[in-house]
Amino acid sequence: MYQWDFGILWSYRWLFLNGLGVTIGFTIVIVVCGLLFGLLGAFGSLSRFRALRLLALTFIEAFRCTPILVQLIWFYYALPILAGVEMTPITASALALSLYGGSFYSEIIRGGIISIDKGQSEAGAALGMTPGQSMRRIVLPQAIKRMIPALMNQSIIQFKNTSLVSVLAVPDLVYQSQVAAHDSYRPLETYTAVAVAYAAILIPLTIIVRRGEKRLAVSE
């Protein structure tokens, strides 16, 4: 029977905290940038102009339909050769994860916008609003309410996806725990503790999302 000894991890606490900080910081960056790409992708795919629609759909499908691990490695190793730009592991993985998240956010935002009854934008137009005004004043305020639960879910997935950046040696929680595991010869304790750390952050978040969903369902 294996003898668990979690006490040994205490000496690596600063390493773990450091990694956790990188993971959380990374999540914030890729959620914000991802939402930005998502907005661009959604408006592009709903554009009146065919070329823009095509461009947006190509972006969405390219990132939605390839594995994120492959994208990470491709952005770090292949893109510099093709484009001639050197990127640090952090830049490469932030870019890949933001674009990957953005492709999913795009679909959520697009779905939210087209779920609003066409009569709403017609009523806006009949009042003399431009398409932009009716999007801002009438459609988006209603659509955002519907998107929020799905956007939150996708952001939770984004948080977990940051664990993949360890393959590019970005010093996140998983990478630091690899260091700790090698150093202490205690991989079971280390990875169990890491799993608990992710869950301890995400479980309260999922509860908040579920509450939010219920509240939105009631108010509609």
């Binding site: 009523a123 137009a125 009042l127 003399g128 609003m129 005004q133 004043r137 009438i138």
Partner: protein, 264 residues
């Protein structure tokens, strides 16, 4: 009609795919005139109404409301987004399914056009919106959300919202078709009041008795063409065309309007 008409539609054509919905439509509405458009579903009357404020962009012909005229068809450039918006601000429209903005209170619904489109100061828009709500008998519902109102009340708010833009003409697209029968009267009463104040209106309706009372001209459409047109009472009481007669035989054509029990 010696005066130039307020609304003038010439040789209007519209197809959806291979389905020709409007075939060479001509229509004049005098200033202060009330025209009722009737006809079976699929006759093109709603499409014609939506062509007047260009919610539907015609394939050919021309539309003029007041001083603004748009031409469509070969060689004609499609109007840009800004001039379309400016044009629509001068025409009010009321929809079958109300299309109130559910995320805004009744008052905010009515203020939305003046504030966003006319750039009116909030305080002025508030005063204007309250006056319009009072006019349709809903002053005390100002702070409620549309979801809490009855169908008839919703439609009266929608009328107030359109009126807050102080439009030159009002377009009604089957404004009472989605209402419970007992709520039809309160909406028709508001429309009738507008007519008596001299508002130029085009009304798509299935309420034949109402059309007979309120409209001065009546147009019967079928399959995308105007089959018969004339003074409302004359067409309803003595239709010349057999198609008009056949259509009107489905309705009670005279009698009192449905009672308006909620306008207060």
């Amino acid at each position: 009609m010696s005066e130039t008409p307020k609304i003038e539609i010439r040789a209007l054509r519209k197809s959806f795919g291979s389905n020709e919905v409007l075939k060479n439509i001509n229509l004049d509405v005098a200033k202060g005139g009330v025209v009722a458009l009737i006809g079976p579903s699929g006759s093109g009357k709603s499409t014609l109404l939506r062509c007047i404020n260009l919610l539907v962009v015609p394939d050919g012909g021309s539309v003029r409301v007041g001083d603004t005229r748009f031409s469509f068809g070969e060689g004609a450039k499609l109007p840009d987004v800004k001039s379309l918006a400016r044009f629509r601000a001068t025409t009010g429209m009321v929809f079958q399914h109300f299309n109130l903005f559910p995320h805004m209170t009744t008052l905010q619904n009515v203020m939305e056009g003046p504030v966003t489109v006319r750039r009116m100061a909030k305080a002025d828009a508030d005063k204007l919106a309250r006056a319009q709500l009072a006019k349709v008998g809903l002053a005390e519902k100002a702070d409620q959300y549309p979801a809490t109102l009855s169908g008839g009340q919703k439609q009266r708010v929608a009328i107030a919202r359109a009126l807050a833009m102080e439009p030159d003409v009002m377009l009604f697209d089957e404004a009472t078709s989605a209402l419970d029968p007992e709520l039809v009267g309160e909406v028709l009463n508001v429309i009738q009041q507008l007519a008596s104040e001299g508002m130029t209106m085009v009304i798509v309706t299935h309420e034949i008795a109402f059309a007979r009372e309120v409209a001065d001209r009546l147009i019967f459409m079928r399959d995308g063409v105007v089959v018969e047109e004339g003074p409302a009472r004359q067409v309803i009481d003595n239709p010349k065309e057999s198609a008009t007669r056949a259509f009107l035989s489905h309705f009670h054509r005279t009698g009192a309007l449905p009672p308006a029990n909620a306008v207060s």
